[in-house]
Symmetry: C2
Subunit: 437 residues, 2 copies
């Protein structure tokens, strides 16, 4: 081999090593769902998406949803003390919501979160609501506004106002995927899900979309999700169902433990289905609906994790044997948020000592000498020490899978919880350290 060939070979090798660390830009997450979803249309719901060039060019970045007369809506929002103007607007709109004949509107943009923008933020939000209300023939206070993207930059809402007419003119029942694409920021794939169930023998549809790509993505602050059903459910019952479902879906996932200033989850019911209205979330007729809703929310939440920044592994953390369910969830989140646990997963290292550490630091009660840890079905540790039959090579082989289950029984009670997370990779650092530079 000539000198030139040898140096060329070394260059190729070094470039490959560099690429492996830096991760791939512009490609879809390796954890993206492999099959495409059939999205059922929801009677009474139409959507549209257009390009307003708020920040991005060459792609749609504003989404509109119209919910016909007779609809109601429920919402869950970030608890952040520094939540954005659109979140405050939506909270207020929800508090004032009455049953009326006017439709309900949703307008959402990507590229600028309109968070921490002072009075200008309120102006921009109001302008979006007023413009949408006029176009949809409703009142501004019946329009829900969401923005996702950079924090602290004034939102050029004129660009959005300029496309509201086009959005209203192109509303269509089948535009769920287009809507999901329009609200993407650092997301690498659009997130949609759709389920059907029955209430009183009637077929009911629930469809939804979400965007991540962290509980907060970098400057791209936000997790947004919008879902709708034709079920005939009263507002209070709908809100209760959404609260319950959120606790075991969106509030049980974490990418980096950072909470967005803009997190918004809306669930509307157009109430066009032919069953009698249900006003009580505990109504027995809701059993199937509740399951279907929870499935849909969990599906969307998992997609957010599967598109977590830099993610190469999807991890389910199961905790049992805690004092209460709440304690179990706190321990599970302690594991799922631990940088040391997450980097071990990235390195495919069956490092169960870090699970022990994360259980210990949670602040919840655990019996060190009754602690059991499993990777999938592999018993790793029990009774305060490594399990007799455990072989490191079995743990290492398990870690090479893309979807992992880690379970810990902490030996003090009957509380249990599941949460979902992804690993912490070089690519997470790259995306978040290099984004604005």
């Amino acid at each position: 081999m000539s000198d030139l060939e040898e140096v060329q070979r070394q260059l190729a090798e070094t470039k490959a090593a560099l690429a492996a660390i830096k991760g791939k830009d512009g490609t879809v997450s390796p954890l993206a769902p492999s099959s495409t979803y059939d999205i059922f249309t929801v009677p009474g719901v139409t959507l549209s998406a257009v390009a307003a060039e708020v920040r991005y060019t060459g792609r749609d970045d504003v989404m509109m949803m119209k919910l016909d007369s007779g609809s109601t809506i429920a919402g869950v929002f970030t608890k952040s003390a520094t939540r954005s103007a659109p979140v405050l607007w939506c909270e207020n709109a929800l508090a004032q919501l009455t049953d009326s004949n006017e439709p309900i509107g949703v307008i959402a943009n990507a590229g600028n979160s309109n968070a921490f923008t002072g009075f200008a933020g309120e102006e921009s939000t109001k302008a979006m609501a007023v413009g949408t209300a006029e176009a949809l023939g409703t009142l501004p206070e019946r329009v829900f506004v969401a923005s996702t993207g950079v924090i602290g930059e004034r939102l050029p809402h004129q660009k959005i106002e300029a496309v509201i007419g086009k959005l209203a003119d192109t509303l269509d029942p089948s535009c769920w995927s287009q809507g999901a694409s329009a609200i993407m920021t650092t997301d690498t794939f659009p997130k949609v899900a759709s389920v059907q169930c029955e209430i009183d023998g009637e077929t009911i549809t629930i469809s939804g979309m979400a965007k991540g790509s962290g509980m907060i993505a970098p400057d791209m602050a936000t997790m947004l999700a919008f879902a709708a059903t034709d079920a005939n459910i009263g507002q209070a019952a709908l809100q209760t169902l959404l609260n319950e479902g959120t606790a075991i879906s969106f509030n049980a996932v974490t990418v980096d433990g950072d909470t967005s200033t803009s997190d918004t989850l809306l669930l509307s019911a157009t109430r066009q289905a032919n069953h009698l209205r249900i006003e009580d979330a505990e109504d027995a007729r809701l059993a199937d609906f509740r399951n279907a809703l929870n499935t849909l929310l969990r599906d969307l939440a998992h997609q957010v994790v599967r598109d977590g920044e830099g993610a190469s592994k999807f991890i389910e953390v199961q905790v049992t044997g805690a004092e209460t369910n709440a304690a179990a969830k706190k321990i599970a989140l302690s594991i799922a948020n631990s940088p040391l646990v997450k980097t071990a997963f990235a390195g495919e290292d069956p490092n169960w000592g870090r699970i022990v550490m994360a259980v210990g630091k949670s602040g919840e009660k655990a019996d060190r000498d009754a602690l059991t840890i499993r990777f999938g079905d592999i018993l790793v540790a029990e009774k305060g020490w490594v399990a007799d039959g455990y072989r490191e090579e079995d743990g290492a082989a398990y870690m090479r899978a893309q979807d992992l289950i880690v379970s810990a029984d902490v030996g003090v009670g009957n509380g249990e919880a599941k949460v979902w997370t992804c690993d912490l990779t070089y690519a997470y650092v790259r995306i978040n350290a290099d984004y604005r530079s």
Copy 2:
């Protein structure tokens, strides 16, 4: 330029890019203190260090400290529910401690933390205590044991027992740095500090050592620190002083938010100084000593952060205007532990939106529209929005420094706190994802 030269140039460039990402192995942290410390010997304290090859070869890995008759000792330990056998031993020893004529011993090893090792862990700890007690002519319950290193592997305590005689034979007042080197794991430099002060006109010395290199390092679980003074202070007062000092030093630093199963901080007083014994921590004669002790603890704690895994920036986070001091500390830790904030620092990105996010997610009260953020002296944001005079290039220039100060006034009260942290770099992921593989 020939083809060969051109390809060689490209190879050199690519290798440099790879090296920049991968970080430097075997080199000292760029944040290490540049000057060497003068370590004052402490009357009544002798130390030694030898190689027992617990895990490492070619270096000392066991440290012994002897505190002469008349000494007392105070301790602070991890609150982890899965704390190690040595921690449980020390807590018990401290609870039983009486004033007696026997000396006090400390024995610490690196390479194996003896954590989550079941009954075998207790055996190993006891063996180390018994061996040390025999060599020093004291009781096992007057020996404090600390271990740092891999979790979940049985400690080969026979290797340590085999060198106890040599440790006892080579005790020397000046071996602080050797002791600090012997307890290093992923640390890149030994951490020592020494101060002098006065009590009742007498010169008093406090010297100490610590190891990191995170609140928990990877498998290398532990922050250990040992300090000693010749001050004549009663046990209860010494414990109070240590508790107070820990709150504003070791308990105000974070590398990754992960809490070790082995964290141990011991402060002994040989009581050989010529002032009357002080039994009350509130005694006015302790004013200078208290300052000196806090300075020493903060110095050691800062060194731990400066050797944080992969650290390239040392960051002081100041929070003012919170409801209480405790609320301020919680907000400061929310900023200091945020992966998004820490990666922004790594990327030298003056991303103040992430500071807003971290304030918001802390769970403590903050007034979004009164929030003020500064990078050093640069006013970045105020009254809920970017400051009028702020220029992004000023923020970017500030971020290029190695030592940074970020301050946030949250506008609701008079509570304040300072915490210290480092950035989150590629090298952190490398160290923690790749360590065992």
